[in-house]
Symmetry: C2
Subunit: 224 residues, 2 copies
């Protein structure tokens, strides 16, 4: 199963065209990939009875598809359903001289597509593998794989990565060369990072089972 690669530039569509802060938009697929690979939790939006529902869920991806654990939204996802999947990383606060210029440094990917319920057993297993490895590299080969029954009880959705909107904001505030610079106020950014902690063993775990290397090595490293 070698997915067809997508063009390296994201298409500009009516949904992905940035209406404001254009300078923050990126049409590079490499930026989309990097944002998706930096995290494992997204917010999945669906429409139910004309109203929006937004639920957090985990994801994985290949070159062509975003795979989303779909149980959280299962009541709404029969067949092909319009979805919006957004992955956001917060890198810090932008503290300006004026309240008006305050902001957030962030990276976000907003993916528009139709949710396809994955039914093919091979694709489902491969999608789950990608999802598992995406959150914890090395875990798929370590843990017990899904049984046929478990696989049937799992809802996996695929969303095409074709249409996406990427926004990135970096750097300091924008009011350093305006009249507000005369106010004598401090301005800058306050970075925010996600860090993996020490593994916490299940209380039921026998003491002689060591933390596997692929889990242990994450402690103290950044995520996002």
């Amino acid at each position: 199963m070698t997915p067809q690669p997508l063009p390296s530039a994201l298409p500009l569509t009516d949904r992905t065209r940035h209406r404001r802060l254009r300078e923050q938009g990126s049409l590079a697929r490499a930026d989309l990939d990097a944002i998706l690979d930096a995290g494992f939790l997204c917010h999945l939006g669906v429409v139910i009875d004309g109203r929006p529902f937004v639920v957090p869920t985990v994801y994985g991806r290949d070159e062509r598809w975003l795979y989303v654990h779909g149980s959280v939204a299962s009541r709404s996802l029969a067949g092909s359903t319009p979805v919006c999947v957004t992955a956001t990383h917060v890198d810090g606060l932008v503290l300006a001289r004026s309240v008006f210029e305050h902001g957030v440094n962030y990276r976000s990917a907003v993916i528009h597509g139709e949710a396809r319920t994955v039914t093919d057993p091979d694709e489902k297993l491969e999608g789950l593998r990608r999802l598992t490895e995406h959150a914890t590299p090395g875990q798929w080969t370590y843990a017990r794989h899904p049984s046929r029954k478990e696989l049937a009880a799992t809802t996996l959705l695929a969303v095409s990565l074709e249409e996406a909107s990427v926004k990135i904001r970096t750097g300091g505030p924008d009011d350093g060369d305006g009249p507000d610079a005369e106010l004598g106020l401090w301005a800058g950014t306050l970075p925010l990072t996600q860090v993996w902690g020490a593994p916490v063993p299940d209380p039921l775990l026998p003491p002689d089972i060591p933390v596997p290397a692929h889990v242990a090595r994450r402690e103290g490293t950044g995520q996002g």
Copy 2:
């Protein structure tokens, strides 16, 4: 402007009733408040032309209303619009013996309501104050307040906190007392925390302006 307090229990509605993993649901308003107060970024979902749009944005709150910076969704938010606002904190990965039992420790609040565009200047200023203080306590009294022109150029939305769905997952994996415990695999959680870094001054800042105490004291503390 003293908002009317809401009941301490969240109402069970067709939208907030948990369809799965009921044990993770909470109807305590205190849990909702705690989740909202632990962060400053939410995902705002709206429906445009029948399709979902999910965008990240900052928020603040009082006892009654969630205030959301609305410019990101301004093209869609004329008048009273159904919205779903979701705030999620990821506390770690749940690594089980089987792939099927893997999960995420998290806290999420899903708020359902209609977005009301705040037009009253007093409420708008107070909403922006709450939003600013929510992200950076102490910043509203430190930074320059919005001018009349800036206030007019800011879109602030209010969403009632009346109807919300709260979910919290904590603890280790659930397969420690089943047959998979015999596999001899490590299982537990890998905590993930958000930490504030050292303030980065704007390059245009004169060197004699100190980092204010309310910003400096966050360095090294957790967020979320």
